[in-house]
Amino acid sequence: MSGLEQWNWYLDGWIIVAGILCAVSSALLGNFLVLRKMSMLGDAITHAILPGLAAAFMISDSRSSLPMFLGAVIAGILTALFTEWIRGFGKVDEGAAMGVVFTSLFALGLVMIVQAADHVDLDPGCVLYGAIELTPLDTILIAGWEIPRVVVVLSIVLLINLLFVIFFLKELKLSSFDPALATTTGFNSTIIHYALMTLVAITAVASFETVGNILVVAMFIVPPAAAYMLTDRLGTMIVISAILATLAAATGHISAITVPRWFGYQSTSTAGMMAVAAGLLFAVAALFAPRHGIVVVLIRRQILAWKILAEDIIALMYRIEERNPQLKPDATYLREILFSQSVPTSLTLRYLTKHGQLSDSNGNYELTETGRDHARQLVRSHRLWEHYLVEHAGMSAENIHKQAEKLEHFTDRQLREKLNEDTIATDQDPHGRPIPPEEKTN
């Protein structure tokens, strides 16, 4: 049993919509928190809005939105301000200042909520991890449609965040990248900073009924962090983070219903599973991102090592041929010169044979015509580099061979030409061996 047979398009549909709205509006702002290295300030603010919320409840005796937003925005801005003050006036390390401020405010809020519990129906648990499952029940009538109140609120917040990001993209970009420059060119990065913090507080308030004020941190930070692993461009990053947030919200709710059934339990907290889903998406992105992923980086390093080995082999073959055209070396002979491991060497030899650079006659290898072309260019690079290093870098002749060895693998035709121009016209390298021509001369 999957649990989905109880799927109710009305209830579950609205839950997913609320989740998506919350996740996307958080992720939009989260991009800048991650880029500005202020993720933990986001965390601090979401904790610290608690007393603001509690005060609003106590004063207005209800969950009406306006006092709630006001209270939370004030609390949010105060967090940023207090942190700044304690850091500045008290000369306390920023992390510690943040820790002092948000835990104190959170504790204050907790005490207030416990005191207010008689007047208002407000469960501390609900504040922490939301009650997204109940959101479809609290509806308001808009243009004849019954729409959950939370969805309406979150839509407005999403719209505000979207407009903020679109209209101030350039300012946000600049002030995230270089606050000093932003200020000197006339964008006040302090204002941008506090505007961002205000919106973070507003978003956190709007989200607390859905995912609660701690799990909203997951929505703020995790999708943008995953997006940051996947791309180098800010615009793309924002779009990807929104897509990932949507995915996390949807899969989060579905897995909250289905996964516990596998173990024989009822459904569990959607908010919790949304955070977990976002975490899994991040893990996949961090491991397998095409350019920056952990696995990819490791593989790339390995491939590079093999590629260098392959080039070393054919360059060595060329040199052997140069000296003694009759000698057809075998794997052991090559390995002794190159100090390479046996498995990679034989694998590389097989690869080179398959790609037509070497021909294999019973374990003895010989360069093919294409292989020889390739090798000639490598050796040319190598000897040009040796030449350059002797001439310009004042390096002693016995040292240069090794250095050129490293460089030759990264020298394309263009750089080779520059090298050629930069070195005195010669056809001999510093060791007195000929520098092969660029093209085959027959």
Binding site: I303, K307, A393, D422, P430
Partner: protein, 271 residues
């Protein structure tokens, strides 16, 4: 074609390795896969004050840190008195750059100097009076004993530098590695440091000092290493510290070499 090289000015008499304070062979170090120093090789004779000179970004700090194994080397070998650094660590005193620590830290100058003795005191054992007395002696030697109980942020830049120097002195090492001890210090401190260096030399100790001010090189050091990603030359100051060598060190950057290094990095990333 100019194939004449500047062979390393190695000492005339071959010393046994355990008497060579520092010998470096083919040392290459890379930060984030971008090589900072390439194939650096040199040996330092004992009892010399050695200046390491080179432009910004030439890898001077990197060289010193790599000698001590603070950063991993891509290739090469470093020996201190004929053994790997780890074996002869007790014979090396290190004076890091002043910016490397948070000076707001709640310790006073004497505490900082005592840190040089922590290894000697041993695990889990407390600092004793005799250790403090030794630290105080070191502070006296650098001339700031009066400030021993000042919190370190209340010391002037020169005094902070001298505190670091005292911390190295207290170890009574045979080889001192100093990362820009003369950077932004007052004249009194500079004089005090030079004095200490001379005393060290008289006691047969060796100091490897990163230095910025070219004018004072011949005055302070009797041996120099000219560094710009690789060793341009090294040897007695009188022989090596020539305008021609300086031109090579500071003049014309190796644009193509840098370009290739850059390509190497890019290619590795985009492969």
């Amino acid at each position: 074609m100019n194939n004449k090289q500047n062979p390393a000015h190695t000492p005339q008499v071959e010393l046994p390795p355990e008497e060579t304070p520092v010998s470096v062979y083919d040392l290459t170090v890379a930060y984030h896969r971008k090589p900072v120093i390439w194939d650096v090789s040199f040996e330092i004779p004992p009892g010399k004050l050695v200046g390491i000179v080179g432009p910004n970004g030439a890898g001077k700090s990197t060289l010193i840190k790599a000698i001590m194994g603070l950063i991993p080397k891509a290739s090469g070998r470093v020996q201190i008195f004929g053994k790997p650094y780890q074996k002869n660590r007790h014979r090396v005193g290190y004076v890091p750059q002043r910016e490397s620590v948070d000076w707001d830290f709640p310790v006073d100058a004497l505490d900082v100097v005592t840190m040089g003795l922590y290894k000697e005191i041993g695990w889990c054992l407390p600092v004793r009076k005799k250790h403090r007395a030794r630290a105080m002696e070191a502070l006296e030697r650098v001339g700031i004993a009066d400030y021993a109980h000042r919190q370190i942020s209340q010391l002037s830049g020169g005094q902070q530098q001298r505190t670091f120097l005292a911390r190295a002195l207290v170890q009574n090492a045979d080889l001192y590695l100093m990362d820009e001890p003369f950077a932004a210090v007052d004249a009194a401190t500079e004089k005090a440091i030079v004095q200490i260096l001379q005393e060290m030399k008289q006691a047969g100790k060796t100091a490897l000092v990163i230095h910025h001010d070219l004018q004072t090189v011949p005055e302070y050091f009797d041996y120099v290493i000219l560094l710009n990603m690789r060793v341009i030359d090294h040897g007695l100051t009188a022989e090596v510290f020539t305008p021609e060598n300086l031109q090579k060190t500071y003049g014309g950057r190796l644009t193509l070499l840098e370009e290739a290094t850059e390509t190497m990095r890019r290619r590795e990333q985009s492969l």
